[in-house]
Amino acid sequence: MAEWNQAGKSPEVLFWVGCAGSFDDRSKKITKAFVELLQRANVSFAVLGPEESCSGDPAKRAGNEFLFQMQASTNIKTLNRYSVKKIVTACPHCFNTIKNEYPQLGGTYEVLHHTQFLNHLVEEGRLEIDENTYKGKKITFHDPCYLGRANNEYNAPRSLITKLKAELVEMKSCKEKGLCCGAGGAQMFKDAEKGNKEVNIERTEQALDTNTEVIAAGCPFCNTMLHDGVKNKEKESKVAVMDVAQLLAQTESL
């Protein structure tokens, strides 16, 4: 972003990579897939790089409003310094926090989840979809809580999967009733309380019940949880867990 700024230009969109997308090995693949799609569609975009910091979502959900607001205020300062107008992110937690919780602290932007952005690109004819790779294959979509219930977006990822000509199959609990992967509310960073099962196992079982070939996700944390679930069920060789961006990016290269 600093380079764009120095050149006196502004990109079409700022890609907010997020902590998982920057540091977590599995999530970095999502980041790269999404970047590939942006380049394929000739979208001019920037990233904040070292100037990006945690959105504050896990701090807020853990109950630390102070730390959240410190993070948010710092990020808003950076974003406003670059006069950012439009943000896209592949993490529904960053998406929700920046979209819904930054405005009260002085940061108002147009914020899109990457599946929404990609869907626009396809509909505008800027991004072409290869309809062969996943044609007729069964794909189920796991609704991230912070995209679905929190922000009422159930359609964009499904619309992309349908455009791949894949057979979209739904799990027992989906859309408004979608079952959490177990990572939200800062659970990702702690052990679960005592119970009789892990949430991600329950969700993975629901996904496997559909006899799907691919479990599509739209969140790096869900992705990790479902990966672990599939591994636990020893189904890695049969069922792939992929972000919607990875599905789209893979189509041509495969």
Binding site: V47, L48, G63, F66, L67, N100, R149, G185
Partner: protein, 424 residues
């Protein structure tokens, strides 16, 4: 007297709710009316579960419709008449009475099915630990009361219909059609006119007394929802569910910390927010949260959808609401006696930390509630209290937060390495 008692109880509820701090939900009036019309009046979320939804709509419509007849029953009582409205309505009266009777029968069927779902099918959400004792009895009592009231209504009609035919007394106006109770009428054949009059009077009185007693039972029961569902949906949170509550007090502090030119000794601007962060007790919650607690019908749809509860954790969003109401009631009882609030708190004495930390903040409970109750906001307020007032987050979360403070990510990675992925 019944109305007086009821008024006293309603005033107590209002007083208790006002123990919470004020929250401004006066915006978006027309959206609020629409939300209330859709959810409370129109029962739109009840039918997400079609069987329970349909049965509930039958009982709800039956309740509203049959209460229209109550008007005539009371008028008859005061005027000493029988079916005082019949001459004014003509054939429409026949239709009305028929509709009332059909609904009475439908309600009997629905309530029986409700009872069977609870006690014979033993649907799991009705048998969770928080449903032991009074909540279980309360649920059954409501069904029994409704059954008895419907049977009394039909008996009253049946005996009246018999008297219309066999009594010499002209005051038994020949009016109304009785598609259901006419099946009961033959039971009176062979009885003395005077005994049938007695039956009719007893049914009439019991019906009236029953309804007033039921009105006063509401205050002690989950059945309060029949009234409070309306204000509760009106004052619901209409923001996206992902937007959690904002704290202006914290915002001011953060502003001071980040702005080098700010005067730290300036008098803090007066805010309506309480001085504690988060909530330890009901008095730290806001009024809509307390209204939520009184409105909860303990149907358990929230708990049924909760990922933590589904996987055997202690957390149950319904229990959070029931605990909030129980605690508020116990505070209210002290106030009734003019005593100060005791040292118990909602946190720890009612809701355990284990429950609070099991929440994934997924909003499934909020989405599931047919009348927009928000258990998650109470969980979050109590978490905030634990972290900001007591610094007692689970160790791993403290590590996560330290990472965010030090290097701007929940994991111990260097912020300068945020672009590394692009070079790999």
């Amino acid at each position: 007297m019944a109305v007086g008692l009821f008024t006293r109880n309603i005033l107590r509820i209002i007083r208790n709710i006002r123990l919470g701090h004020a929250i401004d939900r006066s915006d978006r009036k027309s959206d609020r009316w629409k939300h209330m019309a859709r959810l409370a009046l129109g029962q739109s979320k009840m039918t997400v579960r079609p069987i329970a939804g349909l049965l509930h709509i039958i009982v709800y419509v039956g309740f509203v419709v049959i209460n229209i007849e109550l008007l005539e029953i009371i008028l008859d009582g005061f005027l000493g008449t029988h079916r005082v409205l019949a001459p004014y309505l003509g054939s429409a009266y026949d239709v009305l009475i028929s509709v009332f009777e059909v609904f009475a029968l439908l309600v009997i069927v629905a309530v029986t099915l409700f009872w069977l779902r609870r006690n014979a099918l033993r649907i799991s959400r009705f048998w969770k630990p928080e449903m032991k004792g009074w909540p279980k009895k309360d649920a059954d009592y409501i069904l029994y009361i409704e059954l008895v009231l419907m049977f009394l209504f039909l008996t009253m009609n049946a005996s009246d219909f018999w008297l219309q035919q066999y009594s010499q007394d002209a005051s038994y106006v020949q009016a109304g059609r009785f598609p259901v109770s006419s099946w009961i009428t033959p039971l009176f054949d062979g009885m003395q006119v005077s005994s049938v009059i007695l039956v009719e009077r007893i049914a009439w009185w019991m019906h009236i007394i029953g309804i007033f007693a039921f009105l006063n039972y509401l205050y002690y029961s989950k059945h309060l929802h029949i009234l409070l569902a309306f204000p509760n949906t009106f004052y619901a949170n209409l923001n996206p569910l992902g937007r959690f509550s904002h704290s202006e007090t914290v915002a001011n502090e953060v502003k001071l910390m980040l702005d080098p030119s700010a005067d730290p000794y300036a008098t803090p601007s007066p805010t309506s927010e309480p001085s504690t962060f988060g909530a330890a007790d009901v008095t730290d919650l806001h009024r809509v949260q307390l209204l939520n607690a009184y409105s909860c019908t303990e149907c358990g749809r929230c708990t049924d959808e909760c990922p933590a509860n589904q996987t055997g954790k202690k957390l149950s969003p319904r229990k959070i609401m029931m605990d909030t109401r129980d605690r508020l009631e116990s505070v209210g009882k002290l106030l009734n006696k003019g005593l100060p609030i005791d040292d118990n708190t909602l946190l720890d004495n009612y809701v355990s930390r284990e429950e609070l930390w099991a929440c994934t903040t997924c909003n499934a409970c909020v989405e599931a509630c047919p009348i927009s109750i928000d258990p998650l906001s109470i969980i979050m307020d109590m978490r905030q209290y634990l972290v900001m007032e007591q610094s007692s987050a689970p160790t791993e979360l403290n590590a996560m937060m330290t990472n965010i403070e030090n290097n701007g990510a929940p994991w111990p990675f260097n912020q300068q390495d945020r672009l590394k992925w692009s070079k790999e």
